[in-house]
Symmetry: C2
DNA sequence: AGTTAGCACTCAGGGATTATGAGTGCTAAT
DNA sequence: ATTAGCACTCATAATCCCTGAGTGCTAACT
């Protein structure tokens, strides 16, 4: 569909626009890119590219600007051809930064977002691990008051969660300990999902004398992992958006920043599509949320062992340095997975 | 120093400027405020007020703008005279909003910031409770792995904190339980500060066989409360700043938003001065941080029982509706204290 | 002596008008 | 098929002028 030369011209336009943020004219290309054809020819090619939907003009006598379709073409080619190489030196540098500052997982992600945004100059996003599909390593009930029971959940990733249960009747320490031991014995090793479906009934059959308490403990446990309750999202470098001329208009900046400020929306944005290990890129109008229809979002995942547990990404103008953003993200994805592995499994 | 009439003129200028955000001229005042003097006289008074440092002109032939000194004067009078009345109906409405959405303390504060910013149209800030001075209600050690011990701390406010301790030697469940019970027995009811200073030595004397373990548990516990480690800060309504004409300049907006984005800085800002129960107001240049030298910050505290445990505030342009902001803050302060009381102690 | 009317003066901000120049599309020559 | 040349477009910036809201000062008035 696109011949060799058209592709070259298109890449030149995209490259120039990504760098300069200004509509690209035929003359600019003929001078700055050595395509061996004159500006008039480039003009013709650009005219064709416009007809094909890859370029457009802000106004009748201006240079061309790449369309979302053009970026999509560009990005697909980047991914297909450049098997993005990992800069080992840089990777180690980032790892050093991350490990020296972060002791806990949440902190690690927060710092990742901070550093990632600083490196890319875009806005960085990171969501904390989803632990719904994680195996329970330990469950314990502790009495902290006559009518208060603390439920402690330890996930296989070392993630700890606490729930306070208020009981109507006083539960004796003795009984509590028995239930606690029993539950720990029974539930250890299962995921929240599994507990929710099949296991619950097994347990109740065996220990129906404590039916009430056990019922509530399991209910609370499952509830607390429902929805996105358990997920935190971190954004950093929001104000980087001001550095892009397309956001010099305050109302556009406001729209963007308001979007990032709404954490529920962000979580939805990041977690709605299934967690696969690929780099995912949505460009401009491909985004579902109107507020970021002129942004591109690049995300990838991080793992614990071979299990994908979270997401990290950058968001910026469609005129983005995709290559740089992708390779930076890969660095963080790998680093996060490695650090988590060490942090949790020794 | 300021006679009756000067004060009236000054208040008129401030009132008009707060509402309109535009330099105020003598004619505007003579028409819109019934002071019974002509614009010429007002002109003379304004000239005096300028000399006294209460007003200034953006340029030679423009109207007057209040200085920080003028706002300080204004605010002091507001606080002295208007003993701000609580709108009970509004208070209940906010309480309903807060209680129906928030189950946990962090969530409660996050929602407070959200609602407060929506109500005031300024940026709202809230810091989570400081628990360093809080009494320990329960401490428990749980073995989650051969080399991993989980420390669970329950504060008197119901706040739970977990720490994972990695031990070199394997600690038997049996020993762990003994130490756990012992520590709980000994430390219960004391604050972190007290534990840090005197108590530690007492304990070690009694149970020197587990010296190593106990040492580390206490060390980790104390460390985790050091600095501001334990404090979370929530900001909401950051983008409200775009609605004020003085921030139509993108670089000013960027400075402001970047400041709010830096959580460490925010925590420092909110917690550096001692927690007293008053409304605290810093106006423009009174602020220590350069980035908010043209903002005013209004904060107050919230309590648990009779103990002040956190702060909530709003930040906006010096040209702020102080009366509204103060009364809104009071509403939130009272509501938070009441909700926390109920949430934790009943 | 304080107050006010009157007047000259200042200056930011809003059109209107006019270059400027980077760009295009088309046509004719190569 | 490519390119040089040219007429044309239009956003942007610069200039100019005008308007109006404001001031400060002075002289008249109570």
């Amino acid at each position: 569909m696109l011949d060799e030369r058209k592709i070259k011209v298109l890449w030149a336009v995209i490259d120039s626009y990504i760098r300069g943020a200004e509509p690209v004219g035929s003359r600019t290309i003929s001078k700055e890119y050595d395509l061996g054809i004159s500006s008039a020819t480039i003009r013709n090619e650009m005219s064709d590219l416009e007809e094909l939907g890859y370029l457009s003009k802000p106004h009748i006598s201006s240079g061309r600007v790449p369309s979302d379709k053009a970026y999509r073409f560009y990005v697909n080619n980047i991914i297909k051809n450049n098997q993005i190489k990992t800069d080992v030196r840089k990777k180690e540098e980032i790892k050093r930064l991350l490990t020296q500052e972060s002791i806990e997982i949440d902190e690690l992600l927060q710092n990742s977002a901070k550093i990632l945004s600083a490196i890319t100059s875009y806005t960085a996003l990171a969501v904390s691990p989803r632990i719904k599909n994680m195996r329970l390593k330990h469950i314990q009930l502790v009495s902290i008051d006559d009518n208060e029971v603390l439920i402690i959940l330890v996930g296989s990733s070392g993630i700890v969660k606490n729930l306070v249960l208020r009981t109507k009747e006083v539960v004796s320490e003795d009984h509590l300990e028995r239930v606690s031991n029993f539950l720990n014995h029974k539930l250890k090793g299962y995921t929240i999902n599994e507990i929710g479906t099949s296991i619950k009934h097994d347990i109740l059959r065996e220990m129906h004398q404590y039916k009430n308490l056990i019922d509530r403990v399991i209910l609370e446990t499952i509830n607390s992992f429902d929805h996105y309750n358990d997920v935190q999202v971190y954004a950093d470098g929001v104000t980087n958006i001001f550095d892009f001329p397309e956001y010099k208009d305050a109302s556009k900046a406001k729209t963007f920043i308001s979007f990032i400020e709404d954490k529920d929306q962000l979580i939805d944005l990041l977690l709605k599509n299934s967690l696969n290990s690929e780099i995912e890129i949505t460009i401009g109008s491909e985004n579902i949320y109107d507020q970021i229809k002129d942004c591109s979002l690049i995300t990838t995942t991080y793992r614990l062992g071979d299990k994908i547990i979270g997401k990290i990404g950058v968001i910026g103008p469609t005129r983005m340095d995709y290559l740089m953003a992708i390779s930076s993200l890969k660095l963080f994805s790998e680093n996060l997975s490695e650090i988590l592995e060490k942090l949790i499994n020794g």
